[in-house]
Amino acid sequence: MNDSDHELIQLYLDGNLPDHKWKEFSQRLERSADMRREFRKLSVLDENLRAQSLGFPNLAEREQNTTPPSYLPWLVAAACLVLTFISWSTPTQSFPASTSPETKQVQLASVLEPAPPIAKLIDFYDLQFKNTDKPVEDICFDIGKYEIERGQLHLRFNNSVELLFSGPGSFEILNPKLVSVTQGNVRTIVLNDKGKEFTILSPTSRYIDWGTEFSLNISSSGEDLVNVHEGAIEVQCLATQNKSQMLTRFSKVIDSPEFTPVLIDKQLENSMPGEMGGYRNQELFDKLATDPDVIGLYDFKLPLADKDVLLQRIPQSWESSKNNLTPNRWVPNLHLSNTNASHGIFHGANRTNGRWPQANGLNLFQKNAHLSLDINQNYENFSFSCWLKPIGKLNNPLNSLIRPYRWKKLGNLSIEVTRSGKLKQFLWGEPHIQELQPSKRKLSRDWNHIAYTFGKVGEKTVSSLYLNGKLYNEVFPNFTNSIVLRNVIIGCLNNKDGKYLNQFNAVLDELVLFRKTLTKEEIEKFYHSGLPTYELNNLSLAATSVAP
């Protein structure tokens, strides 16, 4: 075994062995047992380095992931006691006297970077595992079996495959590209080339994903329902492994009789990434409910508080009609301590599906539809954020998003959307302020995030509008020092004659008012926190809608 043998092996494993050296390599390998041994050793080296780079756990991690026997804590405790006794009884012994294997192991371990689990937890909803009450966030999704009593789980493998699992059922992670499912509903999305060949095993069949998105329901009766949304998957029958069939979204039936347990169901539409985002969003709202910089927080769910409590913070414009109001017209301010903003009351609108399943938004569908609320103070620093989804056409040249009931003094703010979906901001008494670099972006037909900020940046006062996390336009007011809204109307305007005009034909959700100037970064974070997470990492998505 010499250097040139070594080089030949490495060239072979790299796939760079020139044609003319192939015969020589083959003959030398045939003759020399030493070279074959070295060949096997270098194969170990090559394969393990490659596997680790693909996210396969190394040996130490596999050891860690193996469930320890129940008597192990007692053994550890006993060992600690013995070690304590030894260290107490031999005080003269210096440390480290020599590098024991154990010490060396600790030193080496500190050099190794902690590897992430095979699958990363992205989201979950109403999730209950069968054998553990451990919080889902604390579960390490590595090789092993997971039994789910109910709920939904969203995992990401190797930054390349999204797996959404809905229980009841169970699945087993066998390696970063192989998951066996005994029962349950699955949606798989391959995000990039690294994720190709991701395989789901059902009790009867094998589904190899070749860069696609598909839904798969595996029942306990041994029948699989499958629907390919994009791309192609290969289905193999486990009983006759050589038989396989490619399925695309155009496939209507399985051709071969061997595939009888697999049925195509074109209606099958398992949960999408982001649908579980309601949980994340609820967490965000819980956090905002105690944020001292938040003055108003509205999620449009039906109020839990009774009418007497709600009446204590009624918008002024509804004061005279308060006895006729029914609780379903109220939109409570959910902030737990700040009372600067009142509860809201809507008119000409109704609750409809919000951004998430089981969430509500406010459908401003009638010509006089609006939400009223009061903000008691003037704010030198002010921001607001909301999500909007236009429904049908924007009917008016200007469609009013937010403004005070009376447009009459410095500090009054109005945000309007043009018929073509462009955003405009107006400040009372500032007719000549110019938008810097007006954006050409428009409101989309989907959910849009709109944020507004006001406050001093250095010496200048800046009034800025953001659309979907990005700056839309900003102006530098000459006279306005604070935002004065007081009696706010959202969704249309009320003219001097008391008529409601400029209805904004849209669904409104997650309205938040702040007494601070949100930064660009905060707005971007706010926008992203409400999106399907897979969009965050700039992963190249194969094919799905971005909308939740």
């Binding site: 796939g15 050793k41 396969f56 596999r62 060396k104 092993g144 066998l174």
Partner: protein, 164 residues
């Protein structure tokens, strides 16, 4: 058992299949077959590893038959020989896997970083060479030297605290 033995089985299969894409496909087949036939298996971890290697040998030879017309493949006899020796000495493969993780930590940090990046799926040698301001040939040479050093280190007996 399968999870613990996987690095050894993967490495064993690597010595039998040159093309990495074929390798990962065959490995999936091995996984599925072992998973499917696990009910018929009796024995401990070591037996399991050997059993899975026999399945891998069978799958690799089956794959070799599909490539029989290709001029640039190792002969069936040679693959069988390597496979049989691999099964006979599968404990040695286990030791190498264990030892490799130690050896990697003993590499100087720049070399460790270099070899990890060279194996990263999104990294081409050409790009890496450009980044390191060297030529791809020189980088290949350097990588071969690092691998040779690692291979030498892998033959030092493992510490007793690790076992498969």
């Amino acid at each position: 058992m399968l999870a613990k033995s996987e690095p050894v089985i993967r490495a064993y299969l690597r010595s039998l299949v040159q093309d990495y894409h074929d390798h990962s496909e065959i490995m999936q087949n091995v996984f599925i077959t072992t998973w499917d036939k696990f009910s018929t298996f009796e024995g401990d971890q070591e037996d399991f590893c050997k059993w899975a290697c026999v399945i891998a040998r069978f799958e690799a030879l089956k794959h070799r038959q599909t490539k029989a017309r290709d001029r640039l493949v190792l002969s069936e006899e040679l693959i069988s020989k390597i496979a049989d020796e691999g099964i006979q000495e599968h404990q040695k493969t286990s030791q190498w896997v264990v030892k490799l993780e130690h050896c990697l930590t003993e590499l100087p940090a720049p070399n460790r970083d270099l070899i990890k990046r060279a194996y990263s799926p999104n990294q081409s040698i050409k790009e890496l060479a450009k980044e390191k301001e060297t030529t791809p040939d020189a980088l290949y040479q350097k990588l071969r030297r690092i691998r040779k050093a690692l291979a030498k280190c892998m033959d030092v007996p493992p510490s007793p605290s690790y076992s498969i």
